[in-house]
Amino acid sequence: MPERGRAWRAAGRALAYALFAAFVGFFAVRPAWTHLGPGEAVVKVSIVHRGKPLGECRERSEEELARLPPNMRIKTVCPRERSPLELEVWLDGRLLHREVKAPSGLHHDGPSYIYHRFVVPAGEHVLRVRLRDSVRAAGYPYDRSERVRLDPGRALAVDFDPAEGIRFR
C-alpha cells in the first residue's frame, strides 16, 4: 500500500476513534434533563397504617368458651378484616388527591400502604391532609392543616404515626 494511502487510513482511524469518544462523551451527560421546574416543589405523602377492624368486637359466652380448646379460650373476638384507609390531600382549599386504599393481605387484615408524590408550585400554601381509618366512624379522626413554605426544589414529606398522627417533615 502506498505510504500516502496508509497515512490517510491512519488519520481516518484516529478520526473514527475521536468521533466515537465524542459521541459517548456527549450523551453521557447531555442534554440536561429538567426533572423539576425552577418554580416547583414536591409533596410526598407516604402512609402505612392498619385500619380499625371492619366490624364490632364481641364477648364470647361461657358456653362458647367451654366448647373451645383451653388454649383458644379468648374472651373478646374481633373480625379479622380491617377498614380501608381514606386519604384526602388539599392544597389551598383545593382537593389535590383522594384515595381509598384497601388493607393488604389475603384476608385484608394487614396495613394499607399509600405513597404519592405531587409536584406543586413553590411558595406558601395551606396544606391539609386528612385520614380516616374506620368505616364505622364518621368523619376523619386524623386531620392536619398547616401553612407551609415550599421553596423551589423543596421536598416535603407527609407521613403518619399512630401516636403523633399526620406529620409534615
Binding site: A16, Y17, A21, V24, A28, H35, V42, S46, R154, A155
Partner: protein
C-alpha cells in the same frame, strides 16, 4: 418487516463501507459483540479499583467518590471516568450489535436461541448500570433511586412501598448501600456472565475478544475522553429536596425522563412490550425452512473436517452404521443453517474423482457438489480471451454475475467456504483457467461467521482440505468485498492485470501474489 430490515441494513451500509476501508477486517462493526464483552472487562477492572476506595454507607458513599475523583484525579478519577464511559460505550456497541444482527436477519431460524438468550443480557446490563448510578449517592442517584422505587412499586412485588425508603434522611440505612454493592459488584455481574455464556452456547468458536489493535484503540479513545471530560458527581443527595436539572446519562437512564412524562404504567408497558417483541421477533414471521446438509454414509469416512468447520455446532459424530470402527457425521437440522461450509470441508467433494455421479460425504441437497462442479466446468469452457477468470461468489456478498463477460465467468455459492479447494485446482489445471477469484463477505464478517477464515486457511494450506502446493497461489485471489460491487470489480480487474503482466513477463518472472481488494490475499 422485510422492508424494515432492508432499510435498517441500508442505514448501516455506508458506515460499514467506510469503516471497512479504514479498519479492514478489524472494522468495529465486525466485532460488536466481542467489543461489548471487552468493554465489560474494562468496566470490571476499573470498577474494582474504584470500589477499593468506596464506602458503603449513607454518609460515606458520596464523600468517598468525591475524594477519589478530586484528590486522586490522576488515577482514581481516571478510573472512575473510564468505568463510566466504558459502560456507556458498551451500551452503544450492544445496541449496534442488536440492530445489526436484526438487519441481517440473524435472529430467525436456527439462530433464534442466540437471539432469545441475548434479551436477558440487555436487562442485566441496564440493571448493572442503574445500580452503579445509585452508588454515587448524589442528586442523580437520588433521582434514579426514587424513580426506580416508584416504578417498582407499581408492580405487585412489594407490599410496603419501596419509595418509603427515600422519604426522609432518616429512612435510609447503611445496609442499603451494602446491598447495592453486593448487587452491583457480585450478584448482577455473575448473572450477566451466565447469560453471556448461554448466549454463545450454540455457536462454535465464539469470538469474545476483539482484535488487539481495535481493543487498544478503543481503550485509548476512552482514556482520552476520561482526561478531557472527567466523570463528576452532582451535588450530594438530599431527601428534603427534589433534584431539578440533571446531567443525565442517556445511554443508561432514558427511561426516567419517560417516567417523568408518561408515568409508570406507560413505561412498564413499553418495557415489557419491547421485551416481548424482542423475544417474539424470531417468529415474526417464521423463517422459511431450507433443506439442511445431508450425509451420505457410503462416502462419509468420519474424517471430522465438517464437524470441526461447522460454525454452529450442527454436526456431531456417531458410530458409522456400515464401517466398523469408523465414525459418521450427523447433522442436527435444528442447528443447521444450510451454509454449505461442510460441503467445502469434505475430502470426498474433490472434482477429480472419476465417478459417473459425484456424490460428497456431506452436501446441500439443493446445491450438491456435482452441480457445483458442472456449473464451474461449463462456465470455464465458455470463457474466451487472453486472461480467463472464474469468479466464485458468496450469495451474501456482491453478486459476481454483474462481472460476467467473455473472459469472466461467475459461479454462485451459498458461502465462499462451500467451495472445495480442489475445485480451484481442477479449474486451473484441468480446465486451463488462468485465475480463480473467491469473493465473499467482508473479512471477519462472514454471513456464516467462519467462512472467510476457513477459505483463507484452506488456500494458504493451513487447514484441511487445503489447496495443493502445486497450484500457483498467484493464480488465486480472495476478494472479501462484501456487498460493495465496485470493490469487487476493482479487485477482479487488479487480479486480471496482474495475471496479464505475469503472462507477458514469461515464466521466469513470477507475478506478485494476488492481493485481495479490501481483504486478504491468497
Amino acid at each position: 418487516m422485510r422492508t424494515l430490515l432492508r432499510l435498517l441494513r441500508g442505514a448501516f451500509e455506508p458506515f460499514e463501507r467506510l469503516a471497512y476501508r479504514l479498519f479492514g477486517g478489524e472494522s468495529p462493526f465486525h466485532h460488536l459483540g466481542a467489543l461489548t464483552i471487552y468493554l465489560f472487562w474494562v468496566v470490571l477492572a476499573s470498577g474494582l479499583y474504584v470500589f477499593a476506595f468506596y464506602e458503603t454507607s449513607v454518609a460515606g458513599a458520596y464523600a468517598s467518590v468525591e475524594r477519589l475523583t478530586h484528590e486522586q484525579w490522576y488515577l482514581g478519577g481516571v478510573m472512575r471516568s473510564l468505568h463510566r464511559y466504558a459502560s456507556d460505550a458498551a451500551v452503544l456497541t450492544l445496541g449496534l450489535h442488536i440492530l445489526r444482527e436484526l438487519s441481517r436477519d440473524h435472529h430467525r431460524g436456527p439462530r433464534w436461541f442466540s437471539w432469545l438468550t441475548g434479551v436477558p443480557n440487555l436487562w442485566m446490563v441496564y440493571m448493572l448500570g442503574i445500580t452503579g448510578y445509585w452508588m454515587v449517592w448524589d442528586e442523580l442517584a437520588q433521582y434514579v433511586a426514587v424513580a426506580t422505587a416508584e416504578l417498582l412499586d407499581r408492580l405487585p412485588i412489594f407490599t410496603d412501598p419501596m419509595a418509603r425508603n427515600f422519604l426522609t434522611e432518616g429512612s435510609l440505612s447503611d445496609r442499603f448501600f451494602t446491598l447495592l454493592a453486593f448487587l452491583h459488584l457480585l450478584g448482577l455481574p455473575l448473572i450477566l456472565v451466565g447469560t453471556i455464556w448461554l448466549h454463545i452456547q450454540r455457536i462454535s468458536r465464539p469470538r469474545i475478544h476483539p482484535p488487539r489493535r481495535l481493543a487498544a484503540g478503543t481503550l485509548l479513545a476512552l482514556l482520552a475522553l476520561a482526561l478531557v471530560q472527567p466523570a463528576t458527581s452532582h451535588g450530594p443527595a438530599d431527601l428534603t429536596r427534589e433534584p431539578q436539572v440533571l446531567h443525565l446519562d442517556w445511554f443508561y437512564l432514558p427511561v426516567y425522563p419517560l417516567y417523568d412524562v408518561l408515568g409508570a404504567s406507560v413505561v412498564w408497558g413499553l418495557l415489557w412490550g419491547g421485551t416481548l417483541l424482542l423475544c417474539a421477533l424470531p417468529w415474526l414471521p417464521r423463517r422459511r425452512r431450507v433443506p439442511v446438509a445431508e450425509v451420505d454414509p457410503a462416502w462419509c469416512n468420519g474424517c471430522r473436517r465438517c464437524f470441526s468447520d461447522c460454525p454452529y455446532g450442527a454436526i456431531d459424530m456417531a458410530p458409522h452404521p456400515d464401517k466398523r470402527g469408523k465414525e459418521i457425521s450427523v447433522v442436527d437440522p435444528a442447528l443447521c443453517l444450510s451454509c454449505g461450509i461442510c460441503e467445502g470441508a469434505c475430502p470426498s467433494a474433490t472434482p477429480f474423482r472419476s465417478v459417473r455421479e459425484l456424490v460428497s460425504g456431506i452436501e446441500l441437497p439443493q446445491y450438491p457438489v456435482q452441480v457445483l462442479r458442472e456449473r464451474a466446468r461449463d462456465a470455464a469452457r465458455r470463457l474466451r480471451g487472453p486472461v480467463r477468470i472464474v469468479v466464485f461468489g458468496c450469495g451474501h456478498a456482491a453478486d459476481p454475475a454483474s462481472l460476467a463477460r467473455a473472459d469472466t465467468a461467475a459461479v454462485p455459492l451459498e458461502c465462499a467456504a462451500m467451495l472445495p479447494p480442489s475445485l480451484v485446482e481442477y479449474l486451473i489445471r484441468r480446465e486451463g483457467v488462468d485465475g480463480v477469484v473467491i469473493a465473499g463477505c467482508r473479512a471477519e464478517d462472514c454471513e456464516y461467521r467462519l467462512g472467510t477464515r476457513w477459505v483463507e486457511e484452506r488456500i494458504a494450506g493451513a487447514r484441511e482440505p487445503h489447496l495443493r502446493r502445486n497450484v500457483p497461489r498467484e493464480r488465486v485471489a480472495l476478494c472479501w468485498a462484501g456487498t460493495d460491487a465496485a470493490l469487487l470489480r476493482r479487485c477482479v480487474e487488479d487480479f486480471r492485470a496482474r495475471l496479464a503482466r505475469a503472462a507477458g513477463a514469461g515464466d521466469d518472472e513470477a507475478p506478485p501474489a494476488a492481493a485481495a481488494g479490501g481483504g486478504g490475499g491468497a
